[in-house]
């Protein structure tokens, strides 16, 4: 089980960030997420595996500057 934006979410072996974003009911075009303290950007979503028992933060938008 992982926690996504404060809610419990079932985890499965080999789950990538891309997989997760397809599974959750949220159409926002996230460009960055955090897995615990690790920041992951969209170009790496497909190859980044989410470990079990982690907390995922969906960063709404990088405003920068």
């Amino acid at each position: 089980m992982i926690q996504v934006a404060g809610k419990q979410h079932p985890w499965h072996d080999g789950m990538t960030v891309s997989d997760l974003l397809k599974e959750i009911d949220d159409s926002h075009p996230y460009a960055v997420v955090r897995i615990n303290e690790q920041y992951v950007s969209r170009p790496n979503f497909e190859q980044t595996i989410i470990p079990d028992d982690t907390e995922i933060f969906l960063i709404p938008m990088i405003a920068g500057g």
Binding site: E37, M61, G64
Partner: protein, 713 residues
Amino acid sequence: MPEYDLKEVKALKYERPDIVNGYTDQTLYLDLSDRKIAINPVAEKTKKTFTGGKGYNLWLLWNAVQPSTKWNDPENALCIAAGPLGGTPLYPGSGKSIVATLSPTTASVMDSNVGGYFGPYLKFSGFDALEIQGKTSKEVVVFIDGINQKIQIFETSGLPDNAYELSAILTDHFAQGKPRNISVVSTGPGAKNTLIGCLNFTWYDSKRKRARYKQAGRGGVGTVFADKGLKAVVACWNNVTADTNNPADKARLKNVAKLHSREIVELDPKQNEMAKIGTTHLVTIMNDHDLLPTHNFRYGQHPQAPNLGQEVYRRLFDPGFDGCWMGCTVACSHGIKDFVPLTGPYKGKAVFVDGPEYETVAGCGSNLGIFDPHTVAEMNFYCDAYGLDTISVGTGIAFAMECFEMGLINETHTGSLELRFGNRLAALELLHQMANGEGFGQIVGQGVRKMKAIFAKDFNVAPDIMQDIGMEAKGLEFSEYMTKESLAQQGGYGLALKGPQHDEAWLIFLDMVHNFMPTFEQKAEALHWFPMFRTWFALCGLCKLPWNDIIPEDNKDTDEPAKVIKHVQWYADYFSAVTGNEVGPDDLIKMSETVYNFQRIFNLRMGFGRRQHDDIPYRAVGPVTDEEYESRAERYDNQLVKTYQVDIDGKSTAEKLATLRKHREEQYEKLKDAVYKRRGWTSDGIPTRKTAKRLGIDFPEVMELLKAKGVNS
């Protein structure tokens, strides 16, 4: 502790006015040439037109200088102001000061915002703004004592030059046991010996028991300060509460401040963790998106970039509260404790480094091909202590390094420095040379624009290639974002009034990553709204980070998520609560639009402010060299074929490079047209008479200037 002397040469006792709804309605004027101290009222029309902060500064500066005034003429004024909301301890990010002056590198109007306690303490001492004219050959310290209602000018001797020690000594000297009451503005030897000097504004860190500082970095404001003979300006105040600004509706203020403050406490840990890692989270994110400048903005990515990422600084930063203004819950001003430099006058001694922030990491790290966090920390420490802008230092050295690597300059020009990307010791040596006004550092310290002229004249380097790779516009060095793939951000930099700093618009993600603004009209709308809203923070004495670096959870469901309208409404409520003037979001834009257009007209008055002055180097637009093109060949080939319908079969890289350049430069010119139209400007980039009239800046001298420049409608 060095022996020093402060001899009072002029003093003025004054009666501090009550602050009414965030305003004192008077400004403090100093003329250092004849030691004059005066207090001037703020006219009601000035208040209504310019709001405060940067708006007040621009009006004071406009009246102080002539079109012929140079940055180092005595009449050039250095102005510092908070704003009507500045100094509110409840609302996050309410402690900003704004500095404005004529810049040594752009020769036109420069503004730079900074944290620390000075702006609020200046206002609480009785002054909405400080204007300093004149010059003195004997260095002086100015003391604005709001508690005892006295202004003093001291001639000084024996004080150290560097801001690190100077800030500590002057804090201790004036504090009378209460160092939190003191804020020191100073610069350092680098500001005297270069044109890219910054100002350090202190805030007192009670936990660590030390004066710490933030920087007004851009455009050589510290160089103007040093040139005037100012050693420091010190403000003294005590007891800051919600009542100090005397808000019109305290209950409403407390309510909206609590909403924003609590939201940050709840959401920052779930988002960018700025209270823990500042802006360093941006390093790897920018790198992942090919946006982190490396090797003088050639590329946006480097495999070693994670060495400079948040995971490293999370370990290096000293944990604890790091708010540069009281009560700010963003609290992003982190620092490194017991850092031991390997070079320079502090070699082997433990010091506290204030920073680094993202801009410094990218400017003094990746853009120089340096991926060692300790070198970045050392560059950060010395830039601050020497009074040098980390962005201009980074972008300036990056340009010199690329010229060296291209063989345009060599060891005979650099004084034997092997200025290759990644050479940490050479970068540090150059920094020390800048501070001392010695060797090749003396040339690099002139900034990129003057460096280009010197290289062409003295070293016989071809100007065209330097124009392409020298990352400056209007005379200001670019801050640290890649813009090649974001036309909107090319405009965000190129169309910015003071030069390429990202405080007006940061549209890379909206444009490039999310593709939210595919048309010219959409980009132009963004390049209208965002600069206008961001300008508003500088009018009021606020930091923009709470607006859009911590985002409400329901923001994504709003019509225009990029604007974070919930927060914009909170800011309108905040302004209404403090000033008593009931405003909505559109009124905030109108306030900014007035000042923004006035600044553009001010540029025109100084001989700039036209279309040609919004040009940017091609490195900001697309690949300059074959090597750059080939590194992202698929991207560029695709654009040529799909977007511009070019048949690239059999074409060499050089041919494709030239074709791409032609198209991309055309796009940038079309963007200028769209933005000028949206802003109510002529096709030459000048506000029309109609626009000036609509905004209430149709002063006789403004209208005469527009007429003289051929603007008749």
